[in-house]
Subunit: 281 residues, 3 copies
């Protein structure tokens, strides 16, 4: 089952590069450039626009909408709701990255409001953010996952339960990224063991992951597969970046550059050769 899923993802990437879908982002100013570049690198087309005056028109031209709460404000929150509702009307998938949910009541409240009013395809967050959305107690510290939330093997069973249950409750795919990434639609659950600890040394890797998930959702309406594809694309590219990093004795600055290089060079065969996934139904 794992091999057939990796082959399927390989085909989806080929299709993505043919279709070059436009992916609308309402996102933060810290990592917007990285998100735009990662979407271009994989072969699609990003558009960042967040004014209430135009988000409905922009989303109507797009194949997916990525909502990222990174540097949330009143104006962008209004645009997120407007664009999200319009996307729902048009059947365009909406992907939510609830950056910092649980860290402040404003972010938790806004995430909640979006979840109540917009039908989502995928929510991707770290363990703290997903716990916050599930209404569980999370030890949140800023926008990064707290260490006690990292998915050690011990925590995996617990994490899977949260993922599956939240997915069933909200009726959308939940993706929890960490040492092991977990993706579930409440029936099928995928565990991904690719990646590298360098991801936590660079800003925007979570945001880029969500952007790639959105890009795959634009061309694949099986959102568990699409979310897994987005995560695999970034994680495998990260592993390749680390290999280059080791050769050149570099650090987190070069990692960021090599990561985009690797996404740019990613081919379907990479999923098949390198993907480390487990699928449980």
């Amino acid at each position: 089952m794992e091999q057939s899923m990796l082959h399927e993802i390989s085909d989806i990437l080929d299709n993505l590069k043919r279709v070059k879908p436009l992916v609308h982002h309402i996102t933060n100013y810290v990592t917007a450039n990285d998100c735009a570049n990662v979407v271009l690198a994989i072969g699609a087309s990003p558009v960042m626009a967040d004014d209430p005056e135009e988000v409905e028109e922009i989303v109507s031209l797009s194949r997916a909408l990525v909502i990222n709460l990174g540097t949330l404000n009143k104006r962008s929150a209004e645009s997120m709701l407007k664009a999200g509702k319009k996307a729902n009307e048009l059947g365009i998938p909406v992907i939510l990255d609830p950056v910092g949910a649980g860290a402040t009541s404003y972010r938790s409240r806004t995430a909640e409001e979006i979840i109540q009013n917009v039908k989502l395809a995928v929510i991707r967050g770290n363990m703290s953010e997903i716990k916050a959305i599930a209404g569980l107690d999370a030890s949140m510290r800023g926008v990064d996952a707290s260490e006690q939330d990292v998915n050690t093997s011990k925590d995996l069973w617990y994490a899977k339960n949260i993922c599956v249950n939240l997915s069933r409750k909200l009726g959308c795919v939940i993706a929890i990224t960490g040492t092991t990434d977990i993706v579930s639609d409440g029936r099928k659950t995928v565990f991904i063991r690719n990646g590298d600890k360098m991801f936590s040394s660079t800003t925007g890797t979570g945001c880029m992951c969500t952007s790639l998930i959105g890009t795959f959702c634009a061309v694949c309406d099986d959102y568990v597969t699409a979310a897994s594809a987005g995560i695999l694309a970034l994680c495998i590219s990260g592993e390749k970046a680390v290999e280059k990093l080791t050769q050149t004795d570099s650090g987190s600055g070069s990692f960021r550059t090599y990561l985009i290089d690797s996404v740019f060079g990613l081919r379907g065969g990479d999923f098949i050769e390198r993907g480390k996934i487990d699928v449980s139904i």
Copy 2:
């Protein structure tokens, strides 16, 4: 005529590095960092400021004003008009990058309002954006040029006509960038055949091009020449970046870094050695 223009541009670059003009940007948050770095790399000084409270003061200290509609909002639109009018009063050249004009009515309307109220030195856009401003039917898709608008040799005659006619109509220089770039003030038209397809794999290359045009306009009041200089500076640097890319077997992440490296290393002689232009009067 071509050689004398390239020699002239070579001299303008030397002067630019001496004068180090301050270039005021009212721009988007996706590529602001790239624009600031490209202006520094060529030897000038960028300042990004977009609050209505201060844009008049900032533009008064500057030698050129770059207006970029990338992530337009109500506040920045107000600032664009205010700063543009002030620049006109003071005789400071204003350069417009109508990012996404034609994609949404908000952007088309704002571009129109700026054109009506501010005397522009140069408008630089891709074919879709320029068509939108000319009131022609463009097949717009987000903020990138649609493929059918790319300037193949077949389309060149058509593109030149749009460029020349719009330039005459608006009384400013029009620069259409694509496979072949076209710059016209309605009398003199320059065709530029430098560049590389890697430019479309990285966000912000259009914005950086406009920033360099603005930087050359700050030290050269022949705006056809200044706009050609800005385009040539970026395109030649891009070709050098691609050469380095090939040597190092890298991708779009490294392209972005090498592009800035190449702008930093650009010398007058590069225009003369590498510039591929045709001038028609």
Copy 3:
């Protein structure tokens, strides 16, 4: 005394990497990504959040607050005051980067308002900005230091006086960065002679310096030492980046990448081996 200070800073870096403090930034969209990456590279955790709705909660989770006036607007100015006052209540150090103070009355006025209402730990600026805050005549040109303000040996005595006097007047540490950096709390003054002229070819190096100062203030309440540590960390990393640049024959694009690489690789011993400081009491 110099050696003992460098040893102390070496220990503080070790502690910083253990504690991984959260550093709240209210900053500009041009260099936010660089600031986030430099804070991650040194081993701490950045959070950028600027909406009045949530800044008090965010700062309450943090160990330091960095206020940067880079792309100031009405909303962020309100947040700066709110977060600053909250930080004061909680005893969290507040670091101000008065980008462009003196260039516009809006920036000078906002800097003044923050200084009047928030007890600051450190103010870091270039000579023009610090002069503006001191109420002296500065020849300001945009957001970069004007050339006549660069600290040549001739100007050093004059610069030290401004630094010491302003520090006494405001009761906080003043850090003036330039060819020679000067840090004073009105009693102890540190001169730092590390760095490289490449710093002025890249946007955000001043902002990154302030972010590192904030990060050290998060784990060290001797703010002269913390500010010196932040400056040394960036300057020494810059020197290492330039060494790599020379080997690879690159420019300002690579400098930015190598700078983050070098901060990522920085160890306590680097301060002891490379730090060029003079301390006067």
